[in-house]
């Protein structure tokens, strides 16, 4: 199990205010924002991985919803963990973000099926985690918090106003990642 120790996750809901707007980050998409009233959200993250950056100095947030680990030539770069993370970095650096002075979070990579016979389906969550952690190591970055693996789907949110990152598993409550 790659889930973090429970001490890393505070069980507390971040309340959404009326002025805040939910921005859904679709599968295989990257969203970068400087809007303080936005909540970047991936709903129902299964074997996909969310790579998230928040720069408290520049107040820039970025969320990648990557489906698969390794880039395939000709396909959209943001579908993949490796090329999508590089694209995320390229986009936030254009906004003056120092990636080494930012907060990084990783979530997702669940193994959604437990029966034998669906090998590709099984491997994807684990391979996504491997690639995401390898990318962080290659960059020399230690994420603030991770919520990876397991067998349940997740919803992740980055609240730009309160600068909080949260995760909620199926049938669970929302928890702050820190």
């Amino acid at each position: 199990m790659l889930n973090p120790p429970l001490s890393k996750l505070r069980t507390q809901t971040v309340r959404q205010t009326e002025s805040e707007q939910i921005v859904s980050v679709g599968m295989g998409k990257l969203v970068v924002t400087q809007e303080p009233n936005e909540i970047l959200t991936v709903v129902g993250l299964g074997s996909c991985v969310a790579v998230v950056l928040y720069d408290p100095r520049r107040r820039v947030g970025a969320m990648l919803h990557a489906m698969l680990p390794r880039h395939r030539p000709g396909a959209s770069v943001t579908r993949f963990v490796d090329s999508g993370t590089r694209e995320l970095i390229a986009q936030v650096e254009k906004l003056g973000v120092n990636i080494y002075r930012s907060r990084w979070y990783l979530a997702g990579g669940a193994q959604m099926l437990s029966a034998s016979g669906f090998q590709d389906t099984f491997q994807i969550g684990g391979k996504n985690i491997e690639m995401a952690t390898a990318m962080m190591q290659e960059l020399g970055i230690t994420p603030i918090a991770t919520d990876l693996g397991g067998t349940q789907g997740r919803t992740v949110r980055l609240y730009m106003a309160s600068e909080r990152m949260t995760v909620r598993t199926a049938f669970g409550s929302e928890r702050i990642m820190e």
Binding site: G44, G46, M67, R70, F80, T121, T155
Partner: protein, 221 residues
């Protein structure tokens, strides 16, 4: 002219594939064929539940894989998903999705228990739902195989209970390994007004050219 290439899929595994642009017309499964298969499924489910179950809606679309979840209202809704793969001449993936509370009612019906007995899915409940997937998919595949003179069979089913979006990851991600667009066939079944809702997703492997060849065979028959 077909160009054969050795390349890596998105998991980094070597794969050999034939690359040739496909149009929707090339890969579309004849609607009549799909509907016949799905009506056969509805008949089988009707027999299983002892109620008249109707096929109410069938949609077929070729969409970029990143857009497959666009327009779905509540990706966080709890569902039971029953996953199977079609193997043989026409590789495909199937997912039947049932709102979780509805799945509990189905388990009660199949196990001949009073309504409200099932409040979570134990092994027996999962087995009952797996059987629903098995019947639905086998009947569909049998009908398609008969009509196209192909050999295709379902794998044993696997049941997953989670958020709708996470369940759909199961069927979409393997398709994304080698394809940018997926051919999505989805259908709704209903029984007794709105008392039974089953959402059926089918993703044929369009990187396999047999589908289009079979389409030609069917249209010339």
């Amino acid at each position: 002219m077909k160009q054969k290439q050795e390349n890596q899929n998105a998991l980094g595994q070597a794969s050999e594939s034939e690359h040739e642009p496909l149009s929707f017309r090339d890969i579309q499964v004849p609607a009549e064929l799909v509907e016949k298969g799905l009506h056969h499924t509805a008949e089988g489910l009707s027999g299983m539940f002892g109620r008249n179950i109707l096929l109410t809606n069938v949609r077929q679309s070729l969409i970029p894989i990143e857009e497959a979840l666009d327009g779905i209202d509540d990706l966080e809704a709890p569902v039971a998903g029953i996953y199977l793969e079609g193997t043989g001449d026409m590789p495909s993936q199937f997912m039947l999705m049932i709102p979780l509370k509805m799945a509990y009612r189905i388990v009660d019906t199949l196990l001949m228990q009073p309504p409200g007995t099932t409040t979570e899915l134990d092994d027996l409940g999962r087995s009952a739902l797996a059987e629903v997937g098995n019947v639905a998919t086998s009947l569909f595949l049998n009908e398609i195989a008969d009509l196209t003179h192909t050999d295709t069979r379902p794998t044993p089913p696997s049941v997953v209970v989670d958020m709708l979006g996470a369940v759909l990851n199961v069927i979409l991600l393997p398709a994304g390994l080698e394809m940018d667009k997926i051919l999505l066939i989805d259908a709704d079944f209903q029984c007794c007004s709105t008392t039974l809702n089953i959402w059926f997703w089918l993703i044929p492997d369009i990187s396999n050219r047999i589908l289009s060849r079979k389409q030609e065979a069917v249209s010339h028959a």
